[in-house]
Amino acid sequence: MNLEEIKKTAPIEIQNASDLNELENIRIKYLGRRGSLTEILKSLKNLALNQKKKIGPKANFLRESLEKLIQEKKQLLNQVNKFPPIDITAPGKKKEIGHLHPISKVEEEIEDIFASLGFSVAEGPEIEDEFHNFDALNMPADHPARDMWDTLWLKTENQKSKIKNQKLLLRTHTSPIQIHYMETHQPPIRIIAPGKAFRYEASDASHEIQFYQLEALMVDKNITFANFKSVVSAFLKRLFGDKKISVRFRLDYFPFVEPGVEVAVSCPRCSNRGCALCKYSGWLEIAGAGMVHPKVFEAVGYNPKDWQGFAFGFGLDRIAMIKYNIPDIRLFHSGDLRFIKQF
């Protein structure tokens, strides 16, 4: 290839190179150790002086211009091969993951708090007999306190309870789990019993025919009322935030405890000032509680002289409603994903 030919073809080839690899090959073809232009330059020394003077500058000029062209093309190709900038302000790609039900979340949080206090989790059947749901909890038949629990009864054609002549029902609270547990375990006892409960009820924003409760029970030789206050306070302060709330105890009546207590927390939303959540009272009633009634111990075969302890129970729905500001209890069973997907 002579100089003229190189001058004609090389720039076109460089121009047409589509990537760095090709460009490098072109460079080697003309300017490499054995490249055609290199060969020409190498052969200069064998030429006559006048020839040398005639071709030399031309060849050198061509080499310089080709080198320049290659350099420019290289820059161009580099430019093209770089990744374009990203609009980092655009939103991230949506990845759909599922959501746990808010009651599952609250339940887990509460179980973890109690686990840290040494409480195990006990469970029990949702279909109960009268003995476990009422009698053993110091509510014999015709006890007026049974009116506090409107009951859903089962039609029991050819279905019987394990205990003779007992009507079957859907448990109206989680307290029967205590009874099952004490029937099969000896103190010391430190359990919580979460679960679903049912009531015969016209449903509205704050009442449902099925709901969730959690009950704590601690029994030993010397568990005192002061101990009860300490455990329930520790739990509630952990749940709602230590600095945010105070806990209030007042008299209440439940047949299965004596003394009977209702536990309230200062409204975490308005800090006790009064708002729609606490119905302008500043307090949210959370738990029914008290020292386990001796008759309950008798019903499970404990000698009440040997043991004392406390129990308290509360609604998981209610806790979830307070924590997440949920206005209507019926949302929990609505199956509405616009609700579930928020948790």
């Binding site: 599922g98 469970e123 009116d147 089962l154 309870s161 394990k162 099925q210 008299l251």
Partner: protein, 677 residues
Amino acid sequence: MKFSYNWLKDYIPRLPKPEKLAESLIIKSFEVETIEKSNTDYILDVKILPNRFSDSSGHFGLSREIAAILNLKLKEPKITVKEAPGKAENYLRVKVDNQNDCPRYSARIMFDVKVEESPQWLKERLEVCGLQTINNIVDAANYVMLETGQPLHCFDYDKLAGKNIKTIAIRRAKNEETIETLDDKKYQLTADVLLIADLEKPLAIAGIKGGKSTGISEKTKKIAIESANFDPVLIRRASKSLNLVTDASMRFERKVDPNLTESAINRLASLIQELAGGKIMKGIVDIYPKKIAKKALGFDFIKFERFAGVKIPPFQIKNIFERLHFKIVRKQKNNLILGIPSWRLDIERFEDLAEEVLRIYDYNKIPEIPPTGILIPPQKNERLEWSRKIKKILASLGLDEIYNYSFVSKKDLINFGLNPNETIQMANPVSAAFEFLRPTLIINLLKTSGSNFRFYDQVKVFELGKVFQKGAAAPYEEWRLAGLISQKNKKEHPFLEMKGFLEKMFDSLGFWDLNFSDLKENPWFDFGRSAEIKAGEESLGFIGEINQNLSQIYTDGYPAVIFEMDLEKIIKAVEEELEFEPIPKFPSIIRDLSILVNSDVRVSEILNVISYSETKLLRDADLFDMYEGPNLPSGKKSLSFHLIFQADDHTLTNDEVGKSLEKIISNLKSQLSAEIR
């Protein structure tokens, strides 16, 4: 229960302002639900606890309670009865059939009363307490009930059967006996109902409501006043069976102090005399055969300290009991013997006394002392822990957790081909939609898809909950896990998506032996669109795409794939499985194999042939591509597998793998007419 503030103030002149009063009552006694202004008075709606009706359901009783908690002076009303000559017992005889039904019956006779409208003050008080005003006699009886807590009743004496001396009998109703009550309603009675009767007819449903025949009218001149005590259980049953709840029945079923009949009847007689004039005949006809003994209980200070966890000084405890009108029968160093006031029917044992001390002292003043004792780590609850894991895995796969009702309707059962007679039915369902306990989670799960299609194109949800079934003798319940994918895109059938979720779920739980086989005929699914989910040989449940019939009803006609499994079985399977497998020492060799087979050949058949062709060296056969459509001869499908070969004891050679592969290929050719691509 409604209370008049002014009325309470009659007994406690230094009564604090209503809001202030409510604050103390709420902590130490009863919840005050509302305070409402009414002219010059306030209406307090006080929730008297069910065990405290005997002492606090009247204005005087509640005042006594308030005076105790606030340590205020209580003004007790003085009752004086001015009796006329002529003994009441000459005009009335009372016959109680069974003293258990009616432990006490007190009666008085008044002559020459003048029935009129009540004076303004009386009308106002009744109105504040939510009672209607009738006439001065009836209103006076109601007034004294609101004051004392003792229900009272007045009969028109002249309308009682008999001539000179009349008889009131307290007896059970005869079956099919009827009574017309004051409000013109007729009730059919049974032997469970206690009656007040004369020798001819029923006069009143005892403890619940008076009868029309002997009601007070404008013409009434002579009256018989009843102040009685009835068996709480009997009254409660009658009130329930007749579906009739009155101010009287509410009080009787929560127990009334039998001592109260006497003071209440005296109070009423003197009030009637004040309002309606007339003569009070001499003496009370009082049938009280078995007087209630005075109760005494010991209170041990050391026992109390052990119970409360805190020491309250004995003088303070003594003061609390005195404020509550407990009599200090004896005081010793470490204990008190206490006489229990007759009106405190709730006090039966030490714990009841401890409550009195603690509440009056104020629960909030008791210090919080953490329990001491041996530290026992909580026991693991396997059901709960695995459930938590499962829920989190399913959520991480994009399924939302929902909670459904535990009930289904009869119509639902029939739609799903389930027999209502074999399903547990409620005796008192809240509505037809909640008549049966769910035997499966699927029904309500499917309902959620339809309701969400207004806002979402795809619904992916799961639920973990109990289902219920009739057992051989007793009902049984079990935990189930169920899931649903349904979507508006009718062209896609998310069976394999759901199957993938399940495989991933078990994989994450550390379980490898999950397999799927054809489900026996099931009315919920079309042929070939469902499978049994198995862990090894154990059936866990099923997965399938519901048929068009069901999808028309429950998912707006859109395809829906569901699964349901027994949670306990899942846990049993995964618990056994989780075991470390040694990391292989020798490298594996991967060969890809693409074959063409008839469309009806199933993946499991191909995998079967592959795995029995090479039992030793083949670690895994993994389907990574399946294709059917254009570019392929019709009736054929193409499948591509990664075949992973590995030996435990040496590095495999190409030769070994080549021989294995040949065996596999030749079996695929001969048994499934596969073509190698």
